[in-house]
């Protein structure tokens, strides 16, 4: 396994462990927030790029046509991390009730943790890859076949043609939540 996927896999595993410790009832609330964050960041991507690019040119006099990779990567990663942090630590949408008893409850916590791990680690990876790794050059720039394959399935790249898809699971979860 190449180093770049190891790095993001490690982040994903840490999120999975957090999910196991918190349990899936709490994790579902965070999942909804992450999915909404993904929808916003991908749906308004073009607008964000032009606004952030324009702001950089205005503030720092960056030449027109320059790709402000570092600023955009920092912006997207920072906003995403802030939303995820708020989803985990802030006052947020939560599901209440008792989880299913083990082993089903444990397996569900594992599955939801894996989803959150994929969404968080994959999105962070995507916003490094999309802007040509401005903060660090990968340890091995020759990605393995596996890494190159994985990159095509990173969350923001998944529904790049139609980001509204991200809202479908959110809508379904909200309906279940309202129904009680």
């Amino acid at each position: 396994m190449g180093p770049i996927e190891t790095l993001y896999l490690t982040i994903g595993v840490i999120v999975v462990l957090i999910g196991l410790a918190r349990g899936y009832v709490k994790e579902l609330g965070s999942t909804v927030i992450i999915l909404v964050a993904l929808f916003i960041l991908t749906f308004f991507e073009d607008s964000i790029n032009s606004v952030v690019g324009g702001a950089l040119q205005g503030m720092f006099g960056a030449a027109e046509g320059d790709t402000p990779n570092m600023a955009l990567s920092l912006f997207y990663s920072g906003v995403f991390v802030a939303i995820v942090f708020a989803g985990y630590a802030g006052r947020t949408l939560t599901f209440t009730g008792k989880p299913a008893p083990p082993p089903q409850g444990f397996l569900l916590s594992l599955l939801v943790g894996v989803i959150n791990g994929y969404l968080i680690a994959g999105t962070l990876w995507y916003y490094q890859h999309a802007f040509d790794y401005p903060f660090f050059q990968p340890f091995d720039s020759n990605f393995t076949d596996r890494a190159q394959k994985l990159i095509t399935f990173l969350p923001p790249a998944l529904f790049s043609d139609n980001p509204v898809y991200w809202i479908i699971p959110v809508a379904v979860l909200l309906i279940i939540r309202v129904r009680g």
């Binding site: 949408l93 599901f95 008792k98 299913a100 083990p102 599955l111 479908i168 699971p169």
Partner: protein, 222 residues
């Protein structure tokens, strides 16, 4: 391919069994067994020579007593003691340490079974994980010798009981992880024709399953 499927099914049955066993025995019991197995393994790998020296000393002490060390001529007994061959020599050291570790591991399993009451050993997901980890330890203990036992030999004398004294836990786990990864790739082969819609369906399905399984008051608070 067929062989791989068979190995994968065997691995699943094996892990499921130990996961179930872990859940039945509870977290505390499995944790104690895992700690003893792990610490014992590290101690024997790093400081095995001390255990060997202690065993040799004990056996030599018994010889000393038997040869009249406490009753007869002490000087002769001491000479016999110092010239006595080591009970565990360098060739046998690895096998001896392996046996010591196996005994400690099995004793830990048995003793925790009756020494820790059910109430103090909670049945939860961590117990399942520890059960699976202990399953890997069991595999490490028994698979090499069982493999040798069931390997085809013309006669019993031909069977090479090549016990894996290197106790390579990580390669065992690595091989298991490789098999699981192959299974994920296999599943991915089924999903990938559906493209991103397939992922969306699976993702939504898991989340709905989780949300629907919340019991009692499932209303949200904000």
């Amino acid at each position: 391919m067929t062989g791989q499927v068979a190995i994968l099914i065997s691995l699943f049955i094996y892990l499921t069994f130990f996961g179930w066993l872990g859940w039945r025995r509870g977290f505390t019991r499995e944790l104690v067994v895992a700690i003893i197995a792990l610490l014992g393994w590290i101690a024997l790998e790093q400081r095995g020579d001390i255990i060997v020296s202690m065993a040799n000393l004990m056996v030599a002490g018994l010889d000393f007593a038997r040869n009249g060390g406490f009753t007869g001529n002490a000087e002769e007994a001491f000479t016999a003691l110092s010239s006595a061959p080591a009970w565990v020599n360098a060739e046998m050291q690895a096998d001896f340490l392996y046996v010591v570790w196996v005994v400690a591991f099995i004793l830990a399993y048995l003793i925790t079974g009756w020494a820790i009451p059910d109430k103090k050993s909670e049945k939860n997901g961590w117990a399942i994980l520890l059960g699976i980890l202990n399953g890997f330890f069991f595999a490490m203990v028994f698979l090499p010798s069982l493999g040798a036992l069931f390997s085809s030999g013309d006669s019993a004398g031909d069977i090479d009981v090549n016990v894996d004294v290197s106790m390579n836990l990580f390669s065992l786990i690595g091989r298991g992880a490789e098999l699981l990864w192959d299974m994920v790739l296999g599943l991915w082969g089924l999903i990938s024709p559906l493209g991103s819609v397939g992922i969306l369906i699976i993702l939504t399905g898991i989340l709905v399953l989780a949300a629907m399984s919340i019991r009692g008051d499932a209303k949200a608070k904000s």
